[in-house]
Symmetry: C2
Subunit: 270 residues, 2 copies
């Protein structure tokens, strides 16, 4: 089931700037028990990203209406919200009268993987783009290439390293690691997506008086790690069980975050 | 007039991976006197990019057929060839049975600008992505933001600098500059599009025994330059007349390249 600007549709015009220039943003929203518990965070991020890019935001109301109409269709699943700058002739410059296009579609939950993930290290490096870092924009070709590596290798997921050799994220998850007793996550100033679940974990930890520290993680430091947590809005948080073939026994971050996240709406964790 | 996989169409499926992930490539082809003189170079680049990304290339024949059907419609103009990885469900990993989608459309020539361009320096920095550098892929959001700057400032074009302060290209042109008597162009190992017209200039100069040197150009070196040439497949080559408000008097590169380029098929230069 797909809604394009609120109407049932299966196609978009060839002139759409999302297609032609990656000129748009998207959100991947978990549906659980017939609801979208994190929709407020998704809409806030979409609004902030639209403002940064100068894409006219259609308003929370229109997007909530779309989401509400699809929520009745499945108790569990994934909603994809795409917002493009709409149609615009040939040429990079945004048209003055751009009218954003919203595309909302419902998808089944991905096939469940092992509770603890087997993770490798992708050869495809993340680029850096100060103008776009943190945004979940439509240009995801690096992730496509890295995900192809993950599929070929038979991993559940793959970590991505930037050009300086710093671990930034996985192809479709952010990550948390422990430095001593402190929960840390890599900075996203130059690369990576500032995920909704990452933001929730940051807020949950801050409200517990144990704020997450943003500290770069060099890829050669992975050898010293015994707990790694991946997160995204669909899965929630997930422990890494094997990292590049090595067992990771630690589950303390997972155990500490499970209940606070459930209180914050993430009620589907094992 | 638009052909999608060879059939007249105005829309594409919402599932297209070009829309959802920027998972595709494009070419912007000049039509002049009812022909597309550089089509061989465009198809060669599209094929090479497809191989690099693992997108199944539909073959020169299908693309030449599409182009041939649109060439009769206008003596002069621009053909846009888009090749996406086709449809593929939610998720970055390319489907095993991906079938590329080709979208070919005909557009009018852009409004002619001053013969010599007035060029500024964009604040939007080009990112770097070793995995994607050189490719004309669909994720062009940095160019969109920079082109919006160009429009706001009223320039004809804007130069883009990478994170190290090196001038890489303009929003829709590559560039050549002089170092002594040698024609130089910035390297594109980490950023930028390896344009078809840039490639033709490199070949023309090599065949004249005056090979272009690939040398980084720091933005503070722009003060010392008195000739700058922009190029793309639609315009050909164009001298920069004003750079950040300063007159650039030099036209020697333009004069030296005009006739060799005409012999190579670029017959529309002033």
């Amino acid at each position: 089931v797909i809604l394009v600007n609120g109407l049932a549709a299966t196609s978009i015009p060839v002139e759409d700037r999302g297609l032609n220039y990656g000129d748009g943003l998207f959100e991947t929203v978990r549906v659980h028990a017939g609801k979208a518990p994190l929709i407020d965070r998704h809409l806030a991020r979409l609004r902030a990203g639209s403002e940064q890019l100068g894409i006219p935001y259609p308003g929370d109301g229109a997007l909530r209406d779309d989401v509400g109409r699809l929520l009745g269709r499945a108790a569990d699943g994934v909603l994809r919200l795409v917002l493009t700058r709409g149609d615009g002739g040939r040429g990079y410059a945004p048209p003055r009268d751009a009218a954003a296009r919203r595309i909302v579609s419902l998808h089944p939950l991905p096939a469940s993987v092992n509770a603890a993930l087997a993770v490798g290290l992708c050869a495809t490096r993340l680029g850096s783009s100060p103008a776009l870092a943190g945004l979940k924009h439509l240009g995801r070709l690096e992730q496509v290439l890295a995900a192809a590596e993950v599929a070929r290798a038979g991993w559940d997921e793959g970590l991505m390293v930037d050009q300086r050799g710093q671990v930034i994220e996985a192809t479709r998850h952010n990550l948390f690691y422990l430095r001593g007793a402190t929960v840390c996550t890599p900075p996203l100033q130059a690369s990576g997506v500032a995920g909704v679940m990452r933001g929730l974990v940051l807020d949950v930890q801050a409200s517990r008086g144990r704020p997450v520290e943003t500290v770069p993680l060099r890829y050669d430091e992975l050898h010293d790690i015994d707990e790694l947590l991946l997160c995204n809005a669909v899965a929630g948080i997930r422990p890494v069980g094997r990292l590049a073939g090595r067992e990771l026994p630690g589950r303390s971050m997972y155990a500490a975050l499970r209940d606070p996240l459930a209180k914050a709406g993430v009620t589907w964790l094992a």
